[in-house]
């Protein structure tokens, strides 16, 4: 029986962690390339949730019946729109302040975050919204009795699988393509990259777009799974994902994913075995401990550089 609860919490934690990881990637990439925390990133996730509902409603109106096709179309459309939001945030809040005092872009990003929240509140209403579930059912794993099984819903499976595919694609882009190489060059030495002919403004914009796209994947998946959202969900999700990014080592892509999974599992086990009310306290305590004993995060390595 305890074994089943344990396994169930592991499944739940993995699902939660995948979502944190997807959002954390955006924080870690933007931090890696311009050394700043994009405080508007959580709102991008929130907007993706609303877009999911809007596109899903639109497709239903058009008479689309097949859930897999609907999910695929919603995912593509949401990523495209959200990428535009990510690009705009960089263009409006960051690029004009590229050579300003370090605090200035931080404050303008907080401003953008408030603007996006209130823009959604005004245009969509302040109430919690919902969509009907289009992904019902699931599997009963390790079933050994009427109450002894581990439940994995189709939506949860979709979250984990999509998260893994997205991370793989992102990793491929960064590690293997010429554009990804340019991203890494800008991250390691922005001035040198521009001396060699890299348009750094374009690379930074692409990083914002990629981060927004990953947050969009998270937004779509969570909305399909839970079905409800409001204009404020970006705040908590953002803080948690930011924590995951720092936990894994900010600036490191695998670190963001690992940090997300560790945070998700920690929260899930703590809720399952100790207390649900204090799960956030536990999650943030974990962060404090990691930062005390390994300040660069789990996978963050101080750069080796010979002079």
């Amino acid at each position: 029986m305890t074994g089943h609860i344990f396994a169930q919490q592991a499944v739940n934690g993995l699902v939660l962690g995948s979502v944190y990881g997807l959002i954390a990637v955006g924080y870690t990439m933007v931090y890696g390339i311009i050394g700043m925390i994009n405080f508007a990133h959580g709102e991008i996730y929130m907007i993706a949730a609303y877009l999911t509902a809007i596109f899903l409603a639109g497709l239903t109106l058009l008479g689309l019946q097949s859930p897999p096709l609907a999910i695929l179309l919603v995912l593509a459309a949401t990523i495209a729109c959200t990428a535009l939001y990510g690009w705009s945030v960089e263009r409006i809040a960051y690029r004009p302040l590229r050579h300003a005092n370090r605090l200035a872009p931080l404050i303008s990003a907080i401003g953008i975050s408030l603007i996006l929240q209130n823009y959604v509140r005004l245009s969509q209403g302040a109430r919690t919204q919902g969509i009907p579930s289009i992904l019902d059912g699931g599997f009963h794993l390790f079933a050994s009795g009427p109450d002894a099984f581990v439940r994995l819903t189709h939506a949860q499976l979709l979250i984990v699988v999509t998260a893994i595919i997205s991370m793989f694609l992102l990793h491929f882009f960064i590690a293997r393509t010429a554009m990804g190489r340019a991203c890494r060059a800008v991250q390691q030495d922005r001035v040198m990259a521009s001396l060699l002919g890299v348009n750094t403004d374009r690379v930074i914009a692409i990083v914002f777009v990629l981060g927004a796209g990953m947050a969009a994947v998270a937004g779509v998946l969570v909305t399909l799974n839970y079905g409800s959202f409001d204009f404020f969900i970006g705040f908590v999700a953002g803080i948690k994902a930011f924590t995951a990014a720092v936990l894994g080592g900010i600036g490191s892509l695998p670190g963001a994913m690992l940090g997300g999974v560790v945070l998700g599992l920690a929260e899930s086990f703590f809720s399952g075995f100790v207390n649900t009310d204090y799960k956030d306290v536990f999650a943030f305590s974990l962060l404090v401990l990691v930062l005390i004993f390994k300040p660069s995060g789990l996978l963050g390595v101080p750069e080796v550089e010979k002079v």
């Binding site: 010429a178 190489r181 060059a185 030495d189 001035v191 060699l196 002919g197 750069e303 080796v304």
Partner: protein
């Protein structure tokens, strides 16, 4: 014919003026050196050519075209390449990736040409071929310098600018690097070499300039400057 020309260029960092009315030129096919003490503004001069920092006065001409206000990232494509102070290789990338970054300004259509240049670079520095898959941050100082020069060559520059390529290297490595520079120059690439190691630089160069406190104090042929008593006293440790 002048490939690079500075006309009364002024530059600096914020309120701090570093270069004052600097005028100099480099002819096609020449090796020109700029010598000067620490803090004279040599590195600032090279970086100003690339708009980092941007010149606040005067003009910079490449092939007679004013490039003073061009965006930094557009300049590599015009035929200038810099081996910067401190090498500035990308430490987290492999040697091969660093070299590939050197060719980002080359348009896609010239891909076969890039492959030929890469072969040439690896021929000049065989150690880079051996270390192709290794992280550049793990190379020794001399190897990093070779990588920085190789990376700059990847864009097939017509004028190669070098900022103290001998700094901090063993005499044997310096000799090897200068031998390669001679070879590159012999193939027709114009060199503009900034050095504190004035002896070596002036022996290599056709002409030289002396920069003192952000101003050009002297100019002349390499031999003339080598023989000049003032230059000998200030930069060559002579008496």
């Amino acid at each position: 014919m002048k490939i690079l020309e500075l006309e009364r260029v002024e530059s600096g960092y914020g309120a701090v003026a570093v270069l004052r009315q600097v005028s100099l030129h480099v002819n096609v096919g020449e090796i020109v050196t700029l010598i000067g003490a620490n803090g004279a503004g040599k590195s600032t001069l090279l970086m100003t050519l690339f708009g980092q920092p941007r010149a606040v006065g005067g003009r910079i001409l490449l092939d007679g075209v004013d490039i003073t206000q061009r965006a930094t990232h557009q300049l590599a494509g015009l035929g200038m390449a810099l081996v910067p102070e401190g090498r500035r290789i990308f430490p987290g990338m492999t040697v091969a990736e660093n070299l590939a970054m050197g060719a980002v300004s080359v348009p896609e259509v010239a891909a076969p040409e890039v492959a030929r240049v890469l072969e040439r670079v690896l021929g000049l520095f065989p150690i880079l071929d051996e270390r192709a898959g290794q992280r550049a941050g793990t190379l020794s100082g001399g190897e990093q310098q070779m990588l920085a020069i190789g990376r700059a060559m990847m864009s097939r520059p017509r004028v190669l600018l070098l900022d103290e390529p001998s700094l901090g290297l063993a005499p044997l490595v310096i000799q090897k690097i200068f031998a390669v520079l001679r070879e590159i120059a012999a193939e027709g690439t114009t060199l503009f070499l900034v050095e504190q190691n004035a002896n070596q630089a002036l022996r290599l160069a056709n002409r030289g300039y002396v920069l003192v406190n952000g101003e050009i104090r002297m100019e002349g042929s390499g031999e003339a400057l080598l023989a000049d008593p003032e230059v000998r006293r200030a930069y060559l440790g002579g008496h």
